[in-house]
Point group: C2
Chain length 668, copies 2
């Protein structure tokens, strides 16, 4: 366990990791994050050890941390100070998603919903939300309805100038609402609005559910916790809520674009249910953009912890003898398992940042009141891309943590490695805002809608424009593998669009309903289509960023190596489909692609440790005995182990007696 080799590996890099970090994240962002970390370090409540806390303990800790963050006053309206907001979000998300969830569910989900769907009469509530005089939760999902929210069963019935809320059956009980089980005083709740015997459809309401002094629930409302959950989500009080003739004032209706007159008439300015729904489309994408970042963060943790530990860990060598053992990072297979996720951490960050820029432009135009066909196209494109990138990113994230844990061997399984806990923490990102395969359908649906316009597709972010020309098959490799990968993706996406569409037509002609058709084209077709389109855009945007925004030659060069690996790693997974769609024939193409991939992995090796430094969160945030920046994994492990020296649990007396009894019995 001699001195760590980590610095030796650091010296191999051809670039300055601090410069890379600034180029990718922005100097101000790096500085602001460091400020947040410094604040956290100064408060005991943010200090952690490696014990697993109970449900009760975890929730109390999160409550205390949330209070501290509110007191700091860092967390205001994101639009008033976007930079600070991003720095806080990223740091908290990396530190503990449970803590950030408590904060955002109140301000950015509950608060934003009241703001966007409410009117003047909800202004007081918006203010109270911003001043943290109340705690908000967001209740959409029901026991029986998660994905298909249009069919939620809770009812709000107009009766004598009031609204009466009911959960008509077990399936209609609200659930999964964060902050609800213990803390929420108010909730946004979705229900079918019944006025004068007619169901006017799904509407949002804001109601008080608890007394803010006693925290007792109001009459007609039962609230409870959902019990234990894995990882940091144990600390999030996801609640369920059942209504039995709960009466709320008429003003509860979030009445932007619709209202009920005091004498019980329903009025609306929306022409259709879909128009009403489209108002909230943008908001959904905000959530997805945040979840894409979760996938990035997962890849960041996985590669940081596993790559640093792979230098501390020495095992086998060219000759026998412990002095000849080499760091496991030297093994090509270990590199092949870990470096792709390192490249993913960097590339997804660049992509996501670019996406946020586009999205911000989109939202600005919406808020300026623009109503154009182009903006409606923009909306669709944002939706298609966010619905594709959220699955791609979160799958990669969870996968990376699983692979990292295994690549760290047994010690990776210790709680203090944090890898399994992080996998649990990130696991739900794959089903947030719709199970990944569910929301991928939105991407393919939008793409399939373009199939009759090939040649004249114009999308504001240009993610689909390549579909206008018939892409060519593979002929030879160019000098830039990323260009080759992009060509292959263009062919792949184009052909998957064609084959998925023609399969759909075939099924339609055979008499299937559009519902059946949509379901039957998913496997091997629509799913792959959505993924190919998304990955093409990711790679394309990262390449544009490197070309257009990174002037420093050393940084430009290393980022090209990173993207090279990321793009080949992703494309290799589509190799079979490339053959099936006829992009190439003969074994040579695939063999060469894999060779290029192995080479791309090899080229990362000297850069790996500094690339890790450029993405790794502060040790205080990383909080992993295996992944600390000093590379002294074994010292940190033993430091923790020694805390558990000579423990003697109370049942050991019972064990001693049992052995004694067995001895006596055996002598009989």
């Amino acid at each position: 366990m001699s001195a760590p080799l980590i610095d030796k590996y650091r010296k191999l890099a051809t670039f300055d990791w601090r410069k890379l970090k600034a180029a990718v994240e922005g100097e101000e962002h790096v500085r602001l994050k460091a400020e947040v970390v410094a604040k956290m370090k100064s408060e005991p409540i943010f200090h952690r050890d490696y014990r697993v806390l109970s449900r009760e303990e975890q929730r109390e800790v999160i409550h205390q941390r949330w209070k501290k963050i509110v007191e700091w006053g860092l967390f205001k309206d994101p639009y008033s100070d976007l930079e600070n907001f991003h720095a806080l979000v990223e740091t908290l998300e990396a530190f503990d998603q449970g803590t950030s969830a408590r904060l955002f569910l109140h301000g950015n989900v509950f608060g934003a919903a009241v703001k966007s769907m409410g009117t003047e009469r909800h202004k007081d509530l918006v203010e109270k939300t911003e001043n943290n005089q109340i705690v908000g939760a967001f209740c959409l999902t029901e026991i029986g309805h998660g994905s298909n929210t249009a069919e939620v069963q809770t009812t709000a019935t107009f009766d004598k100038g009031e609204l009466v809320f009911n959960s008509p059956n077990v399936g209609a009980i609200k659930c999964w609402a964060g902050n609800l089980a213990h803390s929420a005083t108010h909730v946004v709740v979705y229900a079918q609005l019944h006025v004068g015997g007619k169901n006017e459809g799904l509407h949002g309401f804001v109601i008080q559910v608890r007394c803010p002094k006693t925290f007792k629930t109001l009459p007609g409302i039962t609230i409870g916790d959902m019990g234990s959950k894995p990882g940091c989500w144990q600390g999030v009080e996801n609640g369920w809520m059942e209504f039995k003739n709960h009466r709320a004032p008429l003003s509860s209706l979030l009445n932007k674009g619709c209202d009920i007159t005091p004498d019980g008439k329903y009025v609306t300015s929306f022409k259709s249910a879909s128009e009403k729904q489209s108002v909230s489309l943008g908001t959904l994408s905000v959530g997805r953009l945040g979840i894409i970042a979760k996938g990035m963060m997962a890849c960041t943790f996985a590669s940081t912890i596993a790559i640093r530990y792979s230098v501390a860990r020495r095992q086998f060598g060219p000759e026998k003898g412990v002095e000849n053992e080499i760091p496991v990072l030297e093994y090509p297979l270990q590199q092949y398992r870990l470096f792709p996720y390192l490249s993913a951490a960097i590339c997804i960050r660049i992509f996501q940042k670019k996406f946020v820029e586009h999205f911000t432009e989109y939202m600005m135009r919406v808020m300026m009141g623009e109503k154009s066909e182009e903006l409606s196209e923009f909306s669709k494109e944002v939706h298609a891309l966010s619905s594709g990138a959220k699955p791609v990113s979160t799958w990669l994230g969870v996968e990376s943590l699983g692979e990292a844990r295994k690549a760290c061997g047994g010690h990776g399984f210790l709680h203090m490695s944090r890898l399994n806990t992080l996998r649990d923490d990130n696991d739900p990102s794959q089903t947030f805002e719709g199970e990944n395969f569910m929301i991928l359908q939105q991407t393919s649906n939008i793409l399939l809608g373009k199939v009759n316009n090939l040649g004249s597709i114009r999308t504001p972010m240009s993610t689909m424009s390549f579909l206008n020309s018939n892409p060519s098959k593979f002929s030879s490799w160019s000098s830039n593998p990323v260009d080759d990968v992009l060509s292959a993706y263009r062919y792949l996406t184009y052909h998957l669009l064609q084959t998925t569409s023609s399969e759909a037509n075939k099924l339609k002609k055979s008499g299937k309903s559009s519902f059946e058709v949509r379901n039957e084209i998913q496997v091997h077709r629509a799913v792959n289509l959505s993924i190919a389109y998304t990955e093409h855009t990711m790679i394309d945007w990262v390449q544009k960023f490197i070309t257009e925004e990174v002037d420093d030659v050393t940084l430009n060069t290393v980022l090209r190596k990173v993207l090279n690996l990321f793009s080949l790693f992703l494309l290799e997974r589509h190799l079979a489909t490339l053959y099936i769609t006829g992009y190439a024939t003969g074994g040579k193409f695939g063999e060469e692609l894999r060779e290029k991939l192995r080479l791309a992995v090899e080229e990362i090796k000297p850069e790996a440790m500094s690339l890790v430094d450029s993405i790794a969160p502060d040790d205080f945030v990383l909080h992993s005995a295996l992944g600390a920046s000093d590379g002294r994994a074994y010292d940190h492990i033993m430091e923790e182990f020694r805390k558990y020296s000579d423990e003697q649990p109370r049942w050991v007396c019972d064990l001693a007696q049992f052995l004694q009894k067995n001895s006596q019995n055996s002598k009989l």
Copy 2:
């Protein structure tokens, strides 16, 4: 939330699930397992709820359960009553791997090691082990050495008629020994034996570490716990142990084939270190056979829980309206995600059982003292196959739990679904007895050793004999897709063997050492070779079992459907490599393979629910709110939720005051 549809799905099956269970598992095995379950149900300590227990609670519970099992007297020497032993093992492994670990680490690991490496002078200890007068642990792994056990650093030095144990550095501290942290009175420990200044290499010793009355550690020994671990392993007291001049009697040496004379001379009857090592080769395979079963069990849990829940869960439908919603099992994509793991659960069981039969024959011949070239080939073949099947099975197992969790959506993430906990429980199976990629190398090494004998390979289990003939490329599909799959695998394995071998030769010629060569041929080559060889054997053996041992036509038919899916599912993952190795050209082959796979999934649908019934453990053992056999997932979920109604944690007072303070501040 109407009555469950599960029985409707059960009626679709073409076979009787009880008959299938008996045909696959054996009637006696099914009966004996039911007996164990009945015993467990009658003891309160085996009853569980859905709370997450603390480290301390979990360990106490496991101690109590272990006592109960010992008192039942079910657990004796496996060889004296193999059937009962298997039934107990499987039931405990399904119930809680933590409980079974406590039992087996003492009897089957510690006990077996003393028996196999010890002599007459250890007989008393063997008896005490069998009578549970002592508790044993097995200490091989050190902080710095897991995979490369030959280099463990602990020393045992002969001094004045005694052995002195030392941990020369932090890396030499023993760790991961189950039962060690609190319970072990004795351990088998591996150390470098130094006699008269000479290192005689790695040896096994058995020493006392604690007083069986006070449970205080003996002088020169420090023992501690390794802290928190995910899943059921939190309940397993994996310990670390540091030696500082601990003195033990000479009789501690497990002296089969070697000894130290009282005057300090080392004597051995082993001709070489490798001969000594080969004695323990068989024992390693026993462990692997057990771990293959863990992968099978993981697939069993995943598919049981997710498929049953997919019938309870209704979402979307051909028309709007909650009454038109269809069970999510109706979606082809959902079937595609889940059914392959159902088929894996069944096929891996059949394969593993057949492997145990072969292995038992092998062990019998070893125990009869046979020393033949054929037996040595048998040993290698058992080693190759167990080193391949352990990774294939455990990867599938962990993957299945991840996929099942996602396919169950949000509710799958609840602790009461048990899916994430089971994933944590099974996660270490991927690194037990060597990280999966590490031990896969043993398979490829053995196969590569055959490359110069192609044409005359004779292996006792015939798993490699197909390598004797040059396999042909794809020409057309036969009437039995499983035969087609096997042909493809034969081609694949043969060609991967050729290309891996020629790559190795090329690297050798370029001047690389054999250590470098071995590392550089892994990615895309040796790894795939080992997997292809293993999967071919699995499919082949299952097909033979169905053909030769299942006479009942309905059972034979449904098992063929199951194997059909399993084999196509596995082969599809090698599609790119099939193209690269030249098995087929043109997109048609791959498209048809995928079409056959989709069809194979479709054919399982009517059988799925009864197939699940045929593999599912008793509800008491399954212990999942989503997966209960009555299909009433939502009722079970709500029953649990209601236990958490109106909770008010103590910090809510603090929250109330905080909101109050914020209200006052905002008025200022």
